[in-house]
């Protein structure tokens, strides 16, 4: 081993004597790393292989007899994107607010404990959120929905008639929003805390109030973090299954009305609900919709990573 601070790469150093243990250990580490690539390739290949039969099959064999494969997928894609964007719309301002509260407003000693509490939200399994959404949230918001359709029904979003059960896409989006809050809060909080203290102190020294300091120093610095947090949250919301499957009362429609009892379902929820009873080419059909979902989340996550990777230190996995 050479005496330099960083060990030089194998290519440029003179070939040192390699012990058996060294060789076995480095090779097994290499194999484990390569296995990740193999697994991901396998996911893509197997999904494509199992989806192909659905793409070439006669649409009349599909359940519900859609006109074509895309006629079957489109309402689901719409529902997935629509519910996820609603969730993002509700959760993003809240996440920024919470992150600011923890990083700049709460008393120092409380801040860490408050962060833990928000992390607890992330630990709750999705099926429990589903149970809560349908058992507690839906009945609780139903009167509000009725009131909204009666008084604001002229807005297309709130078009009547209101669902009698509260199991609408808005309820599902609220549950999704609660579920993606912790991820987004964690990333925003992380960036806000990284704001150079000198910037903040300079702003305060110039006589800025706390909000002006945040607007001038913290928010511009944290913008990439906010964007990537939002994208990662969106990725989570797109792929979330059980909460939507349990809360939503689905129908194959494309509709922007959020309070009615006929709602577009999402890809993931549709798979979870239909898969146990599927047979024949319908299984391939569901796998093909899964492939579509995979591609959508891949695009969203890649954009998020691209934004994050310009600033390395934080990512959704930690």
């Amino acid at each position: 081993m050479t005496a330099t601070a960083t060990p030089p790469t194998a290519a440029e150093s003179p070939r040192a004597y390699q012990r058996l243990g060294d060789r076995v250990f480095s090779k097994s580490a290499l194999i484990a790393g390569s296995l990740i690539l193999v697994i991901l390739a396998a996911v893509a290949i197997f999904l494509v292989a199992q989806s192909l039969p659905a793409l070439v099959a006669d649409p009349n064999d599909f359940i519900g007899r859609p006109d074509s494969f895309w006629a079957y997928v489109w309402p689901l894609v719409f529902g997935t994107l629509w519910s996820a964007s609603l969730a993002l719309l509700m959760a993003l301002p809240l996440a920024i607010g919470i992150a600011l509260f923890i990083s700049h407003f709460a008393p120092r000693r409380l801040a860490q404990a408050l962060g833990y509490i928000i992390d607890l939200l992330a630990a709750v399994p999705s099926v429990v959120y589903g149970l809560w959404g349908i058992g507690v949230l839906a009945p609780a918001v139903q009167p509000l929905y009725t009131w909204l359709t009666e008084n604001l029904g002229w807005i297309p979003l709130f078009a009547p008639p209101a669902s009698g059960t509260g199991r609408t896409i808005l309820t599902a989006a609220i549950v999704l929003g609660v579920m993606i809050l912790p991820v987004m809060t964690a990333i925003c909080r992380e960036v806000f805390l990284q704001t150079p203290v000198l910037h903040e102190e300079a702003a305060l020294a110039l006589g800025a109030t706390r909000w002006e300091m945040i607007r001038m120093a913290v928010l511009p610095f944290g913008r990439p973090g906010i964007v990537s947090g939002a994208m990662l949250g969106l990725g989570r919301a797109l792929g979330e299954t059980m909460a939507v499957a349990m809360v939503l009362s689905p129908a194959a429609v494309v509709s922007f009305a959020v309070l009615q009892s006929r709602n577009p379902s999402t890809i993931a929820a549709n798979i979870a609900l239909s898969f146990p009873e599927s047979y024949g080419v319908n299984v391939n059909l569901l796998i093909a919709t899964g492939l579509v979902l995979f591609v959508i989340t891949l695009i969203v996550n890649s954009i998020a990573r691209w934004v994050v990777n310009r600033r390395k230190d934080f990512s959704g996995a930690n």
């Binding site: 697994i39 399994p125 429990v128 996995a317």
Partner: protein, 365 residues
């Protein structure tokens, strides 16, 4: 209203300067909050007695009180402290409200799960399966066993792969392969859980024919979700091991693999344990992939390679979705299952954080 100094004269054209204006007393915002909430309750009680709402609506009272507080504090601060301070007060109120609003679902969820889950949280729930149970009674023993078997197998597969990948990335990896692995680990974290389930199904359907359902396939699906989380947390922990420790070992003539095994890993073992426990906590609540590849059943099944295997999250879902004649019994079991699940996840998370705090290495800086 309590004021520190005399209110400034009405501003006409002078530029806004904080020191031109008075400051609100420290206690004033709290007084306003108290008064606003009291007013909110008053209005709600009035509406309740008139008959506009059923009884005293607590939600309405709190919402009215909060809105009133935000309006009052902004207006009062604007009169006394000037526009800039008023904006600051407004934002502070909004940010605090955002935090409170986020806490409400958590409290409501925990409260509901504990109160409704307690009904069937008994010995029978943990000792019996659902075999031949149509109404009351029965339990989730088969689901708990299934969850432990499948999550355990997933952990046995994921931990070595994840840990060795992290070691490769930190200790060996250079060049395009390491960059590719880092990138694809990120991609893998974004795989929706249902897609992981479909992958496992596609894989096993090819080998065992269509309609395959087995516990081991569930473990494979969980592994796909677990590996990237393990890699990420282990990598992070290995990176914070100071380089001086490695160099000291090399200087003493210790081979690289023994350096990793005896110096790097023991230093970071607390963090690695924490990361692995949090990864387990994350996959133990996964429902969708297990619903697809492991199926659901009412019977005990210890065989990973044969037949359907129930798991706790799927038990919760199917108890809710396929309610029998006596629906209350099914709902009670679903909530009891949810309570068990939350307890397991919370215990895993808290122990992990405790380990991280107690056994954190002292890096001598």
């Amino acid at each position: 209203m309590a004021i520190d100094s005399t209110p400034a004269p009405l501003r006409t054209s002078t530029p806004a300067n904080i020191h031109d204006h008075g400051r609100l007393n420290r206690r004033t915002p709290w007084t306003i909050l108290g008064l606003s909430l009291a007013a909110g309750f008053g209005v709600a009680a009035f509406l309740g007695s008139v008959g506009a709402t059923d009884g005293l609506s607590l939600t309405l009272a709190l919402a009215l009180g909060t809105v009133l507080y935000v309006v009052m504090i902004t207006l009062i601060s604007r009169q006394i402290e000037g526009t800039r301070q008023a904006t600051d007060r407004f934002v502070t109120a909004m940010v605090t409200i955002a935090f409170t609003v986020a806490i409400i679902p958590l409290i409501s969820l925990l409260f509901t799960v504990v109160t409704r889950g307690a009904a069937r949280f008994d010995i029978q729930f943990f000792s019996e399966s659902m075999r031949n149970v149509v109404g009351e009674g029965g339990g989730a023993a088969h689901a708990i066993v299934g969850t432990l078997l499948m999550t355990g197998t997933a952990a046995i597969i994921s931990i070595p792969i994840g840990l060795m990948t992290a070691i490769y990335l930190v200790e060996y990896g250079r060049g395009p392969l390491a960059r590719a692995i880092t990138f694809f680990v990120d991609v893998m974290t974004g795989i929706p859980s249902i897609v992981a389930g479909l992958f496992a199904f596609a894989l096993f359907a090819l080998v065992f024919g269509p309609g395959v359902r087995m516990g081991f396939a569930g473990s494979i699906a969980l592994s796909v979700l677990m590996i990237p989380v393990v890699v990420r947390s282990c990598e992070e922990m290995l990176r914070i091991v100071p380089n001086e420790l490695r160099e000291a070992a090399y200087a003493l003539g210790v081979p690289k693999w023994l350096t990793v095994l005896k110096v790097v890993l023991p230093t970071s073992i607390a963090g690695i344990t924490t990361g692995i426990m949090i990864a387990i906590a994350r996959v133990i609540g996964e429902t969708a992939p297990l619903l697809i590849v492991a199926g659901f059943t009412a019977s005990m099944n210890y065989d990973m390679f044969n037949d359907r295997m129930q798991s706790l999250p799927v038990f919760v879902f199917t108890s809710y979705a396929n309610q029998g004649v006596d629906s209350q019994a099914f709902l009670d079991r679903a909530w009891a299952g949810a309570l068990t699940l939350i307890l397991i996840v919370m215990v895993l998370n808290l122990t992990a954080r405790l380990i991280a705090r107690l056994f954190a290495p002292t890096l001598g800086r």
